[in-house]
Symmetry: D3
Subunit: 196 residues, 6 copies
C-alpha cells in the first residue's frame, strides 16, 4: 500500500512567502546559521516569521529570554512546561518540537512522550509536579488561578522569580500554541526521530 | 544530573498479583507465547488481566474480534481509531501501545504522533477523516451523536457493517482507556522506540 | 389528540438484519431462552448483536463476567455503577435497562430514578457514594483520576479486587453507552413499567 | 437486606419551618386545597415556599402565568421544556415532578423518561424538536444564542409570542432547578409511581 | 471615521409591541412613574414585559420581593450576586443594569467592573466572597452543589434565611439572564455612564 | 458604611521589587516618559516588568510591533481583539486596560463594555464580527481551528497578512491574560473612569 504521508508539506496555511535566507539582515542570517549548527536544521517557526524581520526579531527576543537565558528554572524544566501547555492546547507543532527538546535535555526518551500524552502519569519530583500543575491550570482555567495556587509553588520551593518564570513560560506557549494552530504551522520532520 | 526515570515501574497501581505464566492454563500460555513472538514481548495489559483467567479470556475475546478479525476496516484504520480515542481521553497506556501500532502498520513514522497530538492536523483521505471525526465525537460528546453523523459516514463510503465496526472499536477504547487510567496501568517501555 | 408514540420502533439505526433466533447456534438459542425466562423478554442489545455470532459471544462473555459472576461488589452495586455512568453519558438504552435493574434488585422503586437524574441527591451509605463518585469521575474526566482517588476507595473499605471491579464495570458502560448511542439502539419498552 | 430508602425525608436542607397550613392566609389555604384535589397532594415546592407568604405568592404568580395560563404552547409542550431544561441541569426535584406531568399530559408513559434521559433519542414532531433544541441551548450555552436560533423557531412555525413563551418557560426552570438543588428540595414520593 | 454605534437600537429581537404607557392599568403606570423618578428612566426590561400585563405583574412581583424587600442580605449584596451570575452567563443586559446598581449602591466605582470581569480578582470581605462563590457555583455547575457548600455559607455567618435569599437571588438571575439573551433584550444606554 | 475599596493596592502578587524609574536605562526611562505623556500614567504592566530590563524590552518589542506598528488591521480592531480574548479568559487587568482603549479609539463609550460583556451582543460590521469570532475560537478551542475558519476570514475580506495579524494579536493576549492572572497583576485605577 502506497499511502500518502500524513503530514502536510506546507510551512503554514497562509500564503506569506518568506524571502530567501540570503536576503535577510546579516544578524538574522547568523542566528539562523547557529540554529543549523546546534539543532541541525532551521525550525520552521523561524522560517515562517522571517517574512517580516521585525516580527521575527520580536519573537526571537522573547523566546531567547524565556527559554535560553538565566532562570531559576533549568532549560529542561522550561521545556517540560512547554510540552504540558502544548498538550493541553493540542498544538501539533509545539508538542513535536518541545517534546524532542525534553527527550534531548532529559536523556530520558520516555519523558517527552509522557508529557505529551498525560503529564499526570509521569513519576516526577514533587516540585516539578507542582510546577506543571500550575502551568496546566493557567492554561485550561486561567480565571481560576488564586493565591492558593501560588502558595503551593512557594511550598514546593519556588521563589518569587521562579514563579514569574513558570508563569511567563506557560503564558508564552499559550501564545505560540494558538499562533501555530491558527495558521496550521507544520514542524520540521526531523524532530520526530531525534533522541528516541 | 542523574534523574530518576519518569515512567513508574509498576504494572498497575493495584496490588493484584498475576501468577507466574507457567501457572496459567495451557491455551493462555500459548496465546502469550504468540504475543512474545509477534510483538516481541507480552503487553502489560495481558499481564495485568492474567490475575483472573476468566476476565483475561473475556478481554482477549473482545479484543481479538474487534482488532484482528475480519472487518471492512483495515487493521491500520482500527488502530487509528484507537489512538484518536485514547488521545481524547489522554490515556497514557493506549496512546503508547496503539501509537506504536499505527507507526508499524502505516509505515509512516509520523502518523502515530499526529494522531496522538491532534488528529485534525493530519493530512488524511476524506473517508478516514470522517471515520476519526465520528470516533472523536462519540468519545467527547456521546449524547450528541445523531443520524446526521451516521449519514456523513455513509456519504464517505462506509456501509452499515463498517459503521458498526467504527462505533464498536471507538467504544472499546473508551472502555480500555478508562480501565488503564483508573488503575494506572503502565505500558511496556519497548513500545516507545519501536518503528520510529 | 392522537400523538405518535415518542419512542422509535427500530432496534438500531443500522440496517444490519439479525437472523431469526432459530438460526442461531444452539448454545446462543439456549442463552436467549434463559433471558426470556428470567427477564421476561430478550434484551434488544442481544438481538442487535446477534447479527454476528462472534461479536455476540464476546459481548456476552464480558457482560456475564462483569455483571453476573463473583465479585466483592453486589449485583445491585454493579447496576448502580451502570446507571450513574449511563446518566453521565446520557445513554437512553442503558439508563432504561439498568435503571430497571436497580429498581428490581434494590426493592427501592425510587433509587433507579435518583441515579438516573442525579446520584448526588441520593441518601447512600458512605462506601456506595465513594464508589459512585469514582465511577462518575472516571467517566467525565478520566485523565484526572489519581492515586488519591484510589485511596478514597480503600478508605471507604474497598479492597484491591473491588477497586478493579468498580473500574472495570464503570469502563464497560462507557463502552456500551457509546455503542448504544452511536447506533441509536432502542431499549425494550417493557423495561419502563417494570418494578415501579 | 434491609436497606435504608435512598430518598432523604427532609423537605429542604434548610431549617426554615413552614407554618401549619391552617395558619396561612385564606386564599393560600384555598390554593393548596385545589392542589390536593387536582394533584392528589401538595407539591413540596409550595410547602417549602410557604414559610414566607410573599415569596410563595410571587412564585405562584409566575408559575401560574407561565405553566397554566393561555399560551400558543400547549401545557404538555411547556412541561416538555421543563423536563429538558431540568435534565440538562440535573435537578432531581424538577425531573421527578415534571417528568410525571409529561407522562400524564401526553398519555405516553415513555415520553417523560425519554426527556429526562436524553431528549435527542425521542421521536418528535419537527416543531417540538426545534423548541426543545432552543430550550436546551439557552440552558447550557446561554451566551451563544443568536438570531439564527430564533430564526429556526420561526421556520418551525412559532410566532413571536410563542418564542417569548418558549424562552420564558425555559428561563423559569433554569431558576427553579437552581433553587431546588441549592437547598436540596425533595419531591413528593407519589410522583414516582404516577402515570407509568 | 463615522462608525455606526455598536449597540442595537431595538428593545428586543421579538416583534411584540408594548402598548403606549398611557394604556396600561393605573397601578402599572404609577409603578413606571416611580421608576422614572428613582432611576431616571424606565428600565427596558419593564417596557418589554409590558406587552402583557399579567406577565409584567408576575415579573415585578418576584423582582420586588427578591431585590427590594426585607432580607438578611443588603441591597448591595443582592446586586453583587446579580452581577456575578450575569457575568458567568455573559448576559449583556443584566451586566449593564446591575453593574450600574453595584456602582451606585457601593459608592465604589470599580466594584461593578470587577464583578463583571472576574469577581475572583476583587478584594472582598470573607462572607461576601463565600456568598459569591456559592452563587457562581450554582450558576455554572448547579448539579454539583452539596451540603458542604451550604456549610461554607453557615461558617461564613449566613443563617438559614440568608442562604435561602442567596439561592433565590442567584436563581432569579439565571432566569432573567437567559430570558434577556434569548430575546436579545437591550439595556438602556443611560446605565453605561452612570456612577462612574 | 465605610467599605474597603474592592481593588487590591498591590502591583502584582509577587514580591519582586521594580527599581526606581531613575535607575532604569535611559531609553526605557524615555519610553516610560512617553507613556506618561500619551496615556497620562505608566501602565502597571510596564512597572511590573521593569524588575528585569531584558524581559521588559522583550515585552515592549512584541507589544509595539503587534499593537502599534503598521498592519492591515486598524489600532481599534487590534484593541477589539484584545478585549474579546481577555473577556473569554476573564483577565481583569486586560479587560480594564484594553476596554478603555476601545472606548478611546472608537469614540463609542459603549463598545468597550459590549466586548467585555459579550461581543455577540454588539452590532458590528460583518468583517469585524468574523475577526472576533476567529479570535474567540482560537482562545477557547484552539485545537479546533481549521481551514474552514481561515476561509471565513478570507471571505470577509481579510488578506493573508491580515489573518497573520488577527492570529498573532489574539495569541499575544492569550499570553498576557495568563501572565496577568497568574501573578494577579492589578490595572491602574485611572483606566476605569476614562472615556466613559
Amino acid at each position: 500500500m502506497s499511502r500518502t504521508p500524513s503530514q502536510p508539506k506546507h510551512l503554514t496555511a497562509l500564503r506569506l512567502r518568506p524571502p530567501p535566507r540570503a536576503k535577510l539582515a546579516a544578524d538574522l542570517q547568523k542566528y539562523f546559521a547557529v540554529c543549523d549548527e546546534k539543532i541541525g536544521f532551521l525550525p520552521n517557526v523561524l522560517a515562517a516569521y522571517s517574512f517580516h524581520e521585525k516580527k521575527l526579531r520580536a519573537f526571537i527576543g522573547m523566546y531567547n529570554d524565556l527559554m535560553l537565558d538565566d532562570s531559576p528554572l533549568s532549560k529542561l524544566e522550561r521545556e517540560m512546561i512547554a510540552v504540558v501547555v502544548s498538550s493541553a492546547n493540542r498544538c501539533y507543532y509545539c508538542q513535536v518540537a518541545h517534546g524532542q527538546a525534553v527527550r534531548e535535555l532529559s536523556g530520558d526518551p520516555v519523558l517527552g512522550e509522557l508529557l505529551v500524552m498525560n503529564y499526570r502519569a509521569a513519576k516526577l519530583p514533587r516540585a516539578q509536579r507542582a510546577m506543571l500543575d500550575f502551568a496546566h491550570k493557567m492554561t485550561v482555567t486561567p480565571d481560576a488561578i488564586a493565591e492558593s495556587d501560588r502558595r503551593k509553588l512557594r511550598r514546593a520551593g519556588f521563589n518569587e522569580r521562579a514563579i514569574w518564570d513558570i508563569a511567563s513560560v506557560a503564558s508564552f506557549f499559550n501564545m505560540t500554541n494558538r499562533m501555530a494552530t491558527a495558521i496550521d504551522m507544520m514542524p520540521n520532520e526531523k524532530y520526530h526521530s531525534a533522541h528516541r
